[in-house]
Amino acid sequence: MESQIKKIHEQLVSKQITCTSLVQERLELLKANAYNSVNSLLEETAIDLAAKVDAKINNGEKIGLLEGIPFGIKDVYMVQGTYTTASSDMLKNYKSPYTATAIQKLLDVGAIPLVKENCDSFGHGSSSENTIFGPVKNAINPAFVSGGSSGGSAVNVAKDYTVFSIGGDTGGSIRQPAGYNKIYGFKPTYGRISRFGLMAYASSTDCVGPLAKSVEDIRIVLNAMSGKDSKDQTTILSTEISEQEIAKDASGTKVGYFKNFIEGDAIDAAVKADFFASIEKIKAQGIEVKELDFFKGDTLVSTYYTLAMAETASNLSRLDGSNYGNRIEGENLIDTYATTRSESFSEESKRRIVGGNQVLSQGFSDDIYLKGLTLRDQISTNFDTDFKEVDIILSPVTPSPPPKIGESLKDPHAMYLSDAYTVGFSLGQLPTLTVPQGTVTGLQVTAAKNNEELVLKFANFLKDTI
């Protein structure tokens, strides 16, 4: 099966390349890049780790599959001793005191982190323009946005600066930039990978996931990071996914799609035509495809943002300049909090914090927040019903192609609505993979909770079908 990780592993083992030269080459590419995808480089550690891998190979010792493989990390993950800025003024000088579980698991198997990657500040955005490090430019056409919030991670993978990257997905932040940059990006079932050490945005939908150039690489990295973690009590037990299983024939799989996603006015004509062309190719393989009913996009987006804003208002209340991060002294403690937060959060983060406090306050919580929770339950129930009829749900990743840099910032409401196809699967906590095929921004493949194996198997089928 096609895999960048396996190819590099073979090259290292057969001594066609050294790990040091591999790491140095990628670091040079990252340094020279004009896409604003880098917040900080982990150069010294990376070169030290590469030298150790080379020494092991030269001593005739075996190395693991991920040992010596260079990867990138969205700048919202703790990696001890590294700057972890969340692309924000608030934390621009903050250093991680400890390492996130997901990243520690990759370090334990010998993967080499090269870079902390640019993203929307605290994950607040869908274009990677809400950042103090400059807007991340699209890997295919730099006049367009990279998508977000894990934009730097998607661009680094697309440009081969990293072999894979670890993004974070709350409402589509891995899947949408993966689609915009034509690579794979996976949001697993909520809880499959520990969130310990990931800066919290909306804790009930935050997911850790990989971006890579092949289904096989997604499988390898997903397996390495999955598992229960006592430091995150929402983690779940999961089983390892084998290469053999996802290479099996997908015939007999029942597929569904949400007809209101495709029939509405919001979808770009080319995305709609391409989506239907893909469905026809799938049907031509003897796969049964059903139309499904679902909530309208506006309701999904509103439900998601209501809950996400409430959660981020709560999660970011800890950032007040007292113990870490930026502090701007005021006349007294309350004034210090307010001055620090007013001057250190971006406009988009402030908009979301204020929105969150609005819906949590007396007089609004019943009409908006609690109603949002009810809607979320109904969305989940709808998914449960759908997965009794079909095995896979296919959908476009976005209604339209990527916007030009600067356009999303002018109209935040339009940016929120552009998440219409990704947020529902976040609310349902379902495993969803973006594949770089089918429409200009790819397709999403979703299965029932904990059925990552079927998602990857079907993605392999799509690779050969459309």
């Binding site: 001890q80 001793g81 991680s96 005191p97 400890y98 909520y190 809880g191 009930s204 009590q233 929402t234 506006d298 309701t299 987006v301 509103s302 439900t303 943002y305 209501t306 804003m309 209340s317 007040d320 300049g321 007292s322 113990n323 870490y324 502090r327 002294e329 006349e331 007294n332 403690l333 309350i334 210090t336 909090y337 307010a338 937060r341 007013s342 402030k350 908009r351 914090i353 204020v354 929105g355 406090n357 609005q358 306050s361 609004f364 009409d367 908006i368 609690l370 109603k371 949002g372 929770l373 009810t374 809607l375 979320r376 339950d377 989940s380 129930t381 109209d411 935040p412 409401h413 906590q429």
Partner: protein
Amino acid sequence: MSKIMTVDILSSIKGAQPSEAVNKLFEEIKNANPTTNNSLNNVNHNAVSINDLREDVVVESSVVERQIIKENFPIEKEGYLVVAKVIEN
């Protein structure tokens, strides 16, 4: 005694006002018609069962961790970490 708090106070953000873009989202929710109004019927069971709680254990921070926590403190003066000014009255 209840006291009305505005969003700028609740958010600790000076001059904060509700935004039009966000209010449009909330209007959509207000106008939505869920088939039930029972938000306690939570389908996504994320809460940990009382039987599955982890043990309370004290984990000592490493020397490096403690050092970085001190480095992250916003202000240090003559070896002391300086707290923000307290409210006088």
